[in-house]
């Protein structure tokens, strides 16, 4: 049984702790611009929606990749980018219907959520439990 990130927009205060934690885990510094999770704001700031890769079963990104740089982590179900294989062609960013694979111009490779190897930092730091990491069966 794999777990999934579940988001509750009505609990999100838009503090962006998730974005900072994500960039710290993956880039080693606080930099929301390099976060794999994003908080979108709507209605003059009334609604804030955290959003990242759903690790969808279809795995459009994985199938589109011409260099087999995206693989499934069998333990977590995450679709992970193998940096050494990624050539930065961006086909996966086009294939993803959810827009959650992004190109990092600094490295010339793509970045996406990898569930931090099964310990997603965004869920760990969220002060309001707007992001939780739960068994898929238990997801509401």
């Amino acid at each position: 049984m794999t777990k999934a990130l579940q988001m509750f927009p009505d609990k999100c205060t838009s503090c962006l702790m998730c974005e900072m934690a994500c960039s710290l885990e993956n880039e080693g510094l606080f930099n929301p611009a390099k976060s794999r999770i994003k908080v979108f704001e709507f209605e003059h700031g009334r609604t804030s929606v955290p959003y990242t890769c759903t690790q969808c079963e279809e795995a459009w990104c994985l199938h589109a990749c011409p260099t087999n740089a995206i693989v499934i982590n069998k333990a977590t179900g995450a679709k992970e980018v193998i940096d050494d294989k990624c050539v930065g062609c961006k086909v996966c960013t086009m294939a993803c219907p959810y827009g959650t694979v992004n190109y990092n111009s600094a490295t010339g490779k793509v970045i996406k959520c990898n569930l931090c190897g099964g310990d997603p930092k965004c869920a760990e730091v969220c002060p309001t439990d707007a992001i939780v990491y739960v068994e898929q069966e238990a997801a509401q």
Binding site: C15, L24, G28, L29, N31, G45, R46, P127
Partner: protein, 607 residues
């Protein structure tokens, strides 16, 4: 490094944008944000220069912890000489703008001179450009924010802007960032307007690091837990700052009808409970709460107005959610103007953000005008035919809009209470210190607050000292000087970290010291933070003394010194300022004229 070690300097007269290394010795002595900007201001301009002249400098400063995962890391300060007070102005704001400025690679943005034509500043990391803003001049803050986002097609731009009030020199015009947050006090927006600078738009993508990341994250997480468990924090999250209105009402320290009274009969209609209770149309004011960048408190309110309310029934453009009532807004539009209409208060709050004005100064200025009107000193001929009686909700919203647009009697209200009351021959009715209007705490019921107001370097302000617990316990003047001084110094430091003062209920200086020590170069102890805070306070004082202020300015309006409180727990009391002030000067190591002695300056390395 947690300091980006880079300053962006923009000379608006010349149209040049240059970078320079941050002075790291000054960073060790003044930390960042409020303190470090004060040092740059002191070194960079003559304090006697006119606040609205090109010689004034306008500094946007982040702190070393801005943009980190320390809770409430979204803060920045706007430091300049203030046109309301002719003293140093230091306005603090949250939202997301400050973190973005830091992420663009700058600890500080220094604006000098005056642009010959309206401009706005566009910053995307190293690319810094001044753009023509002729088409933005005359627009509101919200219109400006929309227009700049649309022009650059960049949703990640964080924008700080002024409204028409800032362009027209309303003395308490503020700088609004991220639509609903503001560097609110002392007229920093009027300084921005005087420089022909409409807005600053920034998109930073470089990020921030710290000295010792593992240790930093350990200290940060410990501090989160402490904050999470704190009762005051819980109240801020659940009720917002407006929880204070019930406390002040019960205590009898809630300034009402221009400080003639200290309890208001209408608090039940505008308190946190009223904000979540449906009205007769089934409309509930409060929608949700929101946080500034990196904040685990989320005291900010998001509200909407009943569409049937007279203020917006025919104005669909205000039918959306926006920034809701905070205590100071509720106080300044409610009790002090005698208004108990929650939708009118909320609408006036929207207008403050839309037009870029400080709600405290506007409300207290309007209250002074209402007293002038009720005493017959001004009449309908002066007020564009609007009956400025206490309690007139329509007058509140009409005048908020007129002031925001600098129209009619709004131009007079834009002078602030001091200049307005002087103009009509009754300076004693202005509830100000050094020209800046009081916040929602009466100095007679809260004498330590009175001493704090009188000695605050930016004029009357409730956020530069914390003698609250002592005042609630004992309403005499005795023993208030020491906690006033100590808290002033501590807050000067906290205001220089990049974090929010609202953490200080849960954290003491050692909590800030631990986080700073892990994040910053140098050895950051509690003792060093105390010293830095005292140095900042004294340098601000030096700025003001050089600007021409003196002991005579460390005072309160005669109403608070002479007229006993009519009701409440402090019934019969006045504020015994002189006793406290003498003791305070001694504790500070200042002469009886309020001038730091040579020994004090030497001790603080300020001579």
């Amino acid at each position: 490094m947690t300091w980006q070690q880079q300053v962006l300097r923009v000379n608006l007269t010349e149209g040049t944008c240059t970078t320079e290394p941050l002075n790291m010795q000054w960073a060790q002595d003044y930390l960042g944000e409020r303190g470090l900007a004060t040092k740059y201001l002191w070194e960079g301009m003559n304090p006697q220069s006119d606040a609205m002249s090109p010689q004034n400098m306008l500094i946007f400063a982040t702190g070393p912890l801005t943009g980190t995962m320390a809770s409430t890391s979204g803060r920045f300060a706007v430091v300049t000489k203030g046109p309301l007070t002719n003293a140093i102005a230091c306005s603090n704001s949250g939202g997301k703008f400050g973190a973005s400025l830091k992420y663009a690679g700058y600890d500080m943005l220094i604006l000098e001179g005056r642009s010959p034509t309206p401009v706005y500043l566009h910053i995307v990391d190293d690319e810094v450009t001044l753009h023509d803003a002729e088409d933005l001049w005359g627009k509101t803050v919200w219109e400006t924010d929309d227009a700049i986002h649309e022009k650059h097609q960049d949703p990640q731009l964080k924008i700080a802007a002024i409204g028409v009030s800032g362009e027209e020199g309303v003395r308490y015009a503020c700088v609004v960032n991220d639509l609903h947050r503001a560097a609110g006090r002392s007229g920093v927006g009027a300084v921005m307007g005087s420089k022909n600078l409409k807005a600053i738009a920034v998109h930073g993508t470089k990020g921030v690091s710290v000295e010792d990341m593992p240790r930093f994250m350990t200290t940060v997480k410990n501090a989160w837990k402490k904050l999470e468990a704190d009762e005051g924090r819980k109240e801020l999250t659940e009720l917002g700052t407006n929880a204070m209105i019930d406390a002040m009402q019960a205590f009898g320290g809630l300034p009402t009808r221009n400080f003639q009274e200290v309890q208001f009969e209408g608090t039940d209609k505008i308190n946190p409970e009223a904000m979540v209770t449906a009205n007769k149309n089934g409309h509930t004011n409060l929608l949700t709460n929101k946080a500034c960048f990196g904040c685990t408190i989320a005291c900010g309110r998001v509200a909407h107005i009943d569409q049937n309310h007279f203020t917006i029934v025919n104005r669909k453009e205000y039918w959306h959610a926006s920034g809701g009532l905070e205590y100071e807004t509720a106080f300044a539009f409610g009790p002090v103007c005698g208004v108990d209409d929650i939708d009118a208060l909320t609408f006036a709050g929207f207008l403050m953000n839309e037009h870029g004005m400080d709600p405290i100064s506007f409300g207290v200025t309007l209250a002074a005008a209402m007293e002038l009107y009720e005493r017959g000193i001004i009449t309908d001929d002066d007020t564009d035919g609007v009956a400025l009686n206490f309690g007139n909700a329509e007058a509140l919203t009409i005048m908020a809009e007129k002031t925001g647009k600098a129209e009619g009697f709004g131009k007079q209200l834009g002078l602030g209470a001091k200049r307005l009351c002087e103009k009509y021959g009754h300076p004693e009715l202005a509830m100000v210190v050094k020209g800046q209007e009081f916040a929602g705490y009466d100095s007679r019921a809260l004498p330590g607050m009175g001493l704090g107001y009188a000695t605050s370097n930016r004029g009357a302000c409730h956020l530069k000292h914390d003698v609250f617990a002592e005042d609630m316990e004992d309403q005499s003047a005795a023993g208030k000087a020491e906690p006033c001084k100590t808290s002033q110094d501590a807050i000067a430091t906290i205001d220089s970290t990049g974090l929010c003062l609202f953490t200080s209920g849960a954290w003491d200086l050692s909590d800030y010291a631990e986080q700073l020590d892990a994040a910053c170069q140098g050895n950051w102890t509690t003792a060093k933070l105390e010293e830095v805070g005292e140095r900042i306070w004294n340098l601000e004082r030096q700025f003001n003394l050089t600007a021409g202020l003196s002991r005579a300015d460390d005072t309160l309006p005669p109403r608070l010194l002479n007229d006993p409180v009519p009701t409440g727990t402090a019934k019969g009391r006045v504020c015994e300022l002189d006793t406290m002030l003498t003791e305070y000067y001694e504790l500070r190591g200042w002469s009886d004229q309020g001038v730091p002695t040579p020994e004090t300056l030497q001790r603080l390395n300020l001579s």
